[in-house]
Each structure stands twice: as structure tokens, then as C-alpha cells.
Symmetry: C2
Subunit: 347 residues, 2 copies
């Protein structure tokens, strides 16, 4: 594994922790830190026609990626984009419907639908690649930049279901009904994702995170058959930078996730910290404060953050929430979380 470095990093805490190196203090960032929690994001977003304009305009994506670095002084930036750029690049476009979430006018139903999809090239998502280059330049080495993609099962779920769902029962049903179609689609998504992540790394991403947001709704058997092997292919294909795998809700898969060829494992707020550390002793863990904890009074936010830090123990840990920060979280609470991590000293 080789760390790409155009401009040397001034703050490389996040990357060192990701690689399991000893750090002076625990690095901290938040999933969805570039978003509605920031007044400057809301102002920009309200001036635009829609969410996708932000994703597809490199200058704007760069601007919102930098906002939390300025405002929160977190230890890593994550490129502003969306996991659904992959299906779109493969030939299945989506719309982002205000207050309702993503919607695919056409979904994958048959093997012909799968065959009609292409393997995405990095060029098909040139706006994000460009945004990464711009952001790396603007960051000028302040903090590392995280690239990302959805895990194949999660992307599959949207392509079959056509949008968000509580149960994703159509997508899950497809795995049971037609394993052959499912594997072919998952393979195509995987190949596209590898190409895309390599493009992000080439453009300057210092680490890439794979988000398996809907991991937790699969049975252990299905997760082992339809999700893990494809994440494994991605991990095995990426050796340029460290990889983080976040399989939200898949507590049952922790032993297997711990064996993946990745450096960091995401931990959600349901997962007991000490138990997870026992299951995954050698990798860096990232997480895991309950995002709802940030609705508490500041004194409680501070206390809960300290308890979390203490339980992770100070090394091989990247502080984060156990899921993306909720859009209506008070900014002061987010700052309290970040500052508590940065000020904490292990006795």
C-alpha cells in the first residue's frame, strides 16, 4: 500500500490512524459532514435547482467539501458526491426528489436489462473526478481527502427497488428469485466501482470508503453469498490507498469483515465497542456515537463522546458517528463532538 502524495499533508492523523500507526490523538470527522448541518451549505443549496447540480458541478462539489474543514476543523474531508452516480454511469439514471429521496424511473427487471448496462468508466463520472482534483488543490495538504462508493449490494438494492424502502423486499426478493441475474448485476456493479474508485485515487483521494448502507437487512446467509464476495473483490483490487468498509447493521458479518483486505472497519451505534474490538482485533475501527446523541444537551454530548473514546482506547480508532449526521443536528452539538475528541487526553 502506497500513500499518494502530491502536496505533503500538514495533518495526516486520519491516514496514520487508518493505517494502524500510533497517533498523538484520535482523528475525527463525520459522515455527511458536508451537508445540511452547515448554514453555508444550506445557503448554497437553496440557491440551486437541485441536489444533482451540486454533485455534478465540480466547483460547487469542491466548495461544499471544504466547508466542514473550515467550519468544524475536522481531520478529513470527504468528497461531496452520491453513491448513485454509479448506476447512472452504468446507464440507469436517477432523480433526486425533494424530501422523498432518490427515484429511478427505470429499474432492473430482467437479464436483458442487466446486459444493457455498461461497465462504468471513470470518465462517465468525470464531474466527481474533477471535483477531487480541484479539492485536493484547494485543500493544499490541510487534511486528507476521502473518496467513496456504495457497496455493490446497496447499489443493487436501489437499481432493483427503484428508490428507498424500509424493507428493500423487491431487491432482497430478487436475490432469492434469481441468484443468476443477481450475481451478474452485482459483478457489473463491482467492476464499475473498482474502475471508479481507482479513478478517484488517481485524482488524489487519500483513502476510499465503501458504504454498505443496507447491509443490515440481509440475512447472514445472503450477506455471505451476495454482499461480502463483491466487497472483497473491491478491497483486493485497491492497493494504492487504505480502504474503509462500513457495513451498516451487519453485526453478524463482523468476523468476515474483519478478514477483508481493508484497513478500517466502520462501526455503527448498535455495535458494542468492546465486543467489536474483540471480533476485529487488528484493524482500525471507525465510529460510533449514535447520531441522535447530538440532540442531547452539550454536557451530555461531551460525556457520551468521552465514554466512546475511552471504550475505543485511543489507538486504531477514527472518531465518527455510527451513521451520517442527521440534517437537523444543532451545529453547536457537532462542534462539541469534534472538539471533545480533539481535546480528550487518555490518562
Amino acid at each position: 500500500m502506497k500513500l499518494k502524495s502530491n502536496t505533503p499533508l500538514k495533518n495526516d492523523l486520519f491516514l496514520r490512524a487508518a493505517k494502524g500507526e500510533k497517533v498523538e490523538r484520535v482523528p475525527v470527522w463525520l459522515m455527511r459532514q458536508a451537508g445540511r448541518i452547515l448554514p453555508q451549505y444550506r445557503a448554497l443549496r437553496n440557491s440551486l435547482s437541485g441536489f444533482k447540480e451540486l454533485v455534478e458541478t465540480p466547483e460547487l462539489a469542491c466548495e461544499v467539501t471544504l466547508q466542514p474543514i473550515d467550519e468544524l476543523e475536522v481531520d478529513a474531508a470527504i468528497i461531496f458526491s452520491d453513491i448513485l452516480v454509479i448506476p447512472e454511469a452504468m446507464g440507469l439514471p436517477y432523480e433526486m426528489v425533494e424530501k422523498r429521496g432518490p427515484h429511478f424511473p427505470k429499474t432492473i427487471q430482467t437479464l436483458e436489462d442487466v446486459n444493457a448496462l455498461k461497465i462504468a468508466e471513470a470518465n462517465d463520472i468525470a464531474y466527481t473526478i474533477e471535483a477531487i482534483k480541484l479539492t485536493k488543490k484547494e485543500l493544499n495538504g490541510r487534511v486528507p481527502l476521502i473518496g467513496f462508493a456504495g457497496a455493490p449490494w446497496t447499489i443493487f438494492a436501489y437499481m432493483i427497488e427503484g428508490g428507498g424502502s424500509k424493507t428493500f423486499s423487491k431487491a432482497k426478493g430478487q436475490l432469492y428469485k434469481d441468484p443468476n441475474l443477481s450475481h451478474q448485476l452485482l459483478e457489473k456493479i463491482t467492476q464499475s466501482t473498482i474502475v471508479y474508485l481507482k479513478g478517484q485515487i488517481e485524482a488524489g483521494a487519500d483513502l476510499v470508503q465503501v458504504f454498505d448502507s443496507w447491509a443490515g437487512i440481509l440475512s447472514p446467509t445472503q450477506y455471505a453469498a451476495f454482499a461480502l464476495p463483491y466487497i472483497q473483490k473491491i478491497c483486493d483490487a485497491i492497493d494504492e490507498v487504505p480502504v474503509t468498509v462500513f457495513a451498516k447493521g451487519a453485526y453478524f458479518a463482523r468476523p468476515a469483515v474483519g478478514e477483508l483486505n481493508c484497513s478500517v472497519v466502520g462501526v455503527d451505534w448498535n455495535m458494542d465497542i468492546k465486543e467489536t474490538r474483540q471480533i476485529i482485533p487488528h484493524k482500525t475501527l471507525q465510529g460510533n456515537l449514535d447520531p441522535c446523541q447530538l440532540y442531547a444537551p452539550l454536557s451530555e454530548v461531551k460525556k457520551a463522546t468521552q465514554t466512546m473514546l475511552e471504550q475505543f482506547g485511543g489507538q486504531k480508532h477514527i472518531a465518527n458517528l455510527g451513521h451520517g449526521v442527521y440534517p437537523d443536528t444543532p451545529l453547536d452539538s457537532v462542534k462539541c463532538f469534534v472538539d471533545t475528541v480533539k481535546e480528550y487526553s487518555f490518562s
Copy 2:
């Protein structure tokens, strides 16, 4: 624990398994068996003004409760009702919005709101009590009748949030923001639930199940503080009939759920059967086929059901899905599931 018996049961497999007694074969029923999977339900439902008419008319509730007994020949009936009758009886009415789910025009925001609520009396939900009496009479001892209620945290979640939600972040936030208000509301819900369940038992329910549908979104700490103690109060208050506790998603709470004063523990499809049996060695377990498994070809449904049965081992097991059956499940698959359980013989 004393089994109420007006008419002696012709098929008491379910109750004997619930009490941990040795059975000749594994009993089987499905959560949401009285519902859209049955053509006779859909026909009746389409002739009515809305879902609540069905819940609030004892003759109709009785009719749909009996439908799966006739059509599927399952080993238990569950009274047709809704967990949200409790908030309504406490003074917080809800509407059932077609294709969107429940909606509370008013939600609980302040301590005054909590104080304005009453402790429900069984009479406030007289339609369900009446439906149970009617159903017991109509069943004439064919199979036992299950009563039910939502667990206090799940009911609380709807009363604060005002409807369904992926994150229930308002409700969870309330626990963090105002533990005092939260405990007062949870206590009132608990008292109402105990009264209501006792009313159901008095009317003839042979077992009561407590559904904690949103257990899995709480952190282990919050579940221990705000959910379990109230379920425990309910379990401790009910000694007339066996109690089933289904804390969906709360895998982390299994050791504590296993210690509750209840006879049966529900197991969702994420939970590994052997691991759960190790954690909860002495109680009857109920579950846990993935509801999406029923979208598979019949041969696969059969195989997966047999594998599940084998893993549970044939005693101290009530076969069920790991969640309510999905409304668009093919009836033949449901029958295949039920018949496979009934025909299976342990070697």
C-alpha cells in the same frame, strides 16, 4: 402461570411449545397472517372505507382473524388489531393513511402533553376485547388465540415521531434530550398496556405477544435504559398466560431478553439461530425465516424452511418468519412454508 380454558383446545401444540413442553411437531403461524396475503382479506378490505373500520368492528376483526386458520391451517390465530390502539385510547388519535401508514395529527412534545394523557382502560379498546370474545367463540377450540400489544418504546416512538420513519430520530432524540419526560410517557404507556393485555386475557387470549418493532434502532445503552425495564414490567405483571417478547433487531439485548419473565422470545432473520439458542438456552424461540425467502421458487422455500427447522432442533421452537409476512407474498409460498413445517420429521 395458568392457562385459561373455556373450551378445551383441540390443537394446543402452539401453547405447549410456548410453555417449553415436548411437542410431536413444531407449531407454525405467521406474523401478519391475517392480511393482504389472503384474497378473502383483500376482498373484504376493498369493500370497506378504511383499515380502522376493520380494527374497530368486532365482527369484521373476528372474520379476518379466522381467515388464515381456514385457508392456511396454521396452529394459532392472532387477533386482528393494531398496536396504535393504545395511544388512541390514551388520548392521542391516529389516522391510517392509505399506502403511507399511520399518522398522528398531534404528537407528544411537552410534559403537559404527557400529563394530558390518560392511562387507557380495557373499555377504551372495547372493540378489540369484543373481537377476542367473538373469535374465541367462533374458533371453538380449534387453535389458541394470540393477543398482542406494542412494546412501550415502539409506541412511544410513534407518539413522538407522529408516524413511521427510517430513523425515528425525533423519538430517539427525545430520549436523549429529555429523559424525564421520556420515562413518564413510557411509564404511562406501560400501565395502559398492562391493563389492555389483561383485558385481552380476560376476554380469552391464550398467549400475549409484545412487539418491539423498533427495538433495533436504539443503542444498547438506550435499549437498556428506556425499553427493557418497561417490557420487564409488562412481563412481571402478566402471569395468567405465557408471554412472547419480540424485540426486532435488538440482537445486542438478547442476553437481557433471555432473562425476562416471559416464555417465548421472537427471533428475527438477522439473528443466527445457534448463537441465539446459546444466548437464550431455556426459553422457546419463535421465528425466523427471512420473509423475502418466500419470493423464491417453492423448492427453495421448502429447503430453506427445512434448514431453519433443523437448526432450531424441533423442540422449544415455534416456526414463524423473522418479521411480518410481506403483503405481496404469493399465497402458494406461504402455504409451502406452513406445510413444510407441518410435514417435517426430525431424524
